[in-house]
């Protein structure tokens, strides 16, 4: 089988942001952080749920589970609100509100011992 012939247009060099370079992260915007945090929280949740099911009474795992659920869920609410028509220029404010609401809910819930 012969090798593909070089295409002078398709084979041209195209730069992309490299994950490993500090330069690529230098001006990461709030919307990107919000998106990234939500995904990281989702992956974290998978691990924490497994630990929680093994032993539901470990306080650090409970704390991690609550924090990750709040983070993931509230950032999801932010996305839904934008999807439903809130202007995109509000997205930074919504990100901040999601973080603040998450922190406040975590603090309130964590102080309330139900057992």
């Amino acid at each position: 089988m012969s090798a593909r012939r070089a295409d002078p247009v398709r084979d041209r060099k195209v730069l992309t942001r490299r994950l490993g370079s500090a330069e690529a992260w230098r001006d990461t915007k709030a919307g990107m952080w919000a998106w990234l945090l939500q995904r990281i929280a989702a992956v974290g949740l998978l691990a924490v749920i497994v630990l929680h099911l093994k032993n539901p009474f470990m306080r650090p795992v409970q704390a991690a589970l609550l924090a990750l659920v709040l983070l993931h869920g509230l950032l999801g609410v932010r996305t839904i609100l934008l999807d439903f028509g809130l202007p995109a220029r509000w997205h930074r404010l919504l990100f901040l509100l999601a973080l603040l609401a998450g922190a406040a809910t975590f603090a309130a819930f964590w102080r309330w011992r139900w057992y």
């Binding site: 060099k13 195209v14 730069l15 999807d83 995109a88």
Partner: protein, 238 residues
Amino acid sequence: MVLNVFRWSPGARERLQKYWVKARQGMTVLDALVELQRGTDPTLAFRYACRVGMCGSCGMVINGRERWACRTLLSRLSRGPVTVRPLYHFPLIRDLVVDMAPLKRKMLEMKAVFVPGRRATENDGFAQVGSRTRERRAIDASIECIGCGMCVSACTMVSHDARFPGPAALNRVFNLQRDSRDGAHADRSKAVLAEDVLTRCHGQANCTAVCPMEISPADSILALRRRAVLRLFGIGPR
């Protein structure tokens, strides 16, 4: 002031070349590049035209952010060396010059071209959209695109999915879908419902953050999505 400028030409290895420029009051990044080209290094390639922030030709990635070089004052940038790179996600021609042809190609693929409908050909070819109409207000915020490509460079999804049309093309699609003079709404509706189009946008709004014309392609994409969802239930316009 130190400028680290991206250098590359076909067949050569990419590198950041360090230049020293005497920064003067009111000096922009474009001024610095022009001074370098006229003095230190005539081989340095970059693109510009109007020099006053109208044409969008001098779009570059300056200190990690897409900006037009002619409107970026050196004094406004953070201290330390200034890094200048070409726009991401476009084929490189040389140094800071990229080929903008993919921008046009994506627009054509998305049928983001005005097709005169019946209303456009009435009254001897003139059909007006009044400045105070709801239709005009809906597109006013997104109509001023100058095709600089900065939104495409800032979009993370463009680099992951070659079939994703990118913010500029989708913003244009939104304009046309809201234009009552256009006669290709149905065709374009089908195009935007393809797998790698509207659903691919992750709503990071990087496009909106960098647009020099303060357009919000993110809003346009979200609006197209809402229209697509309504259409699924048979209650929305095309």
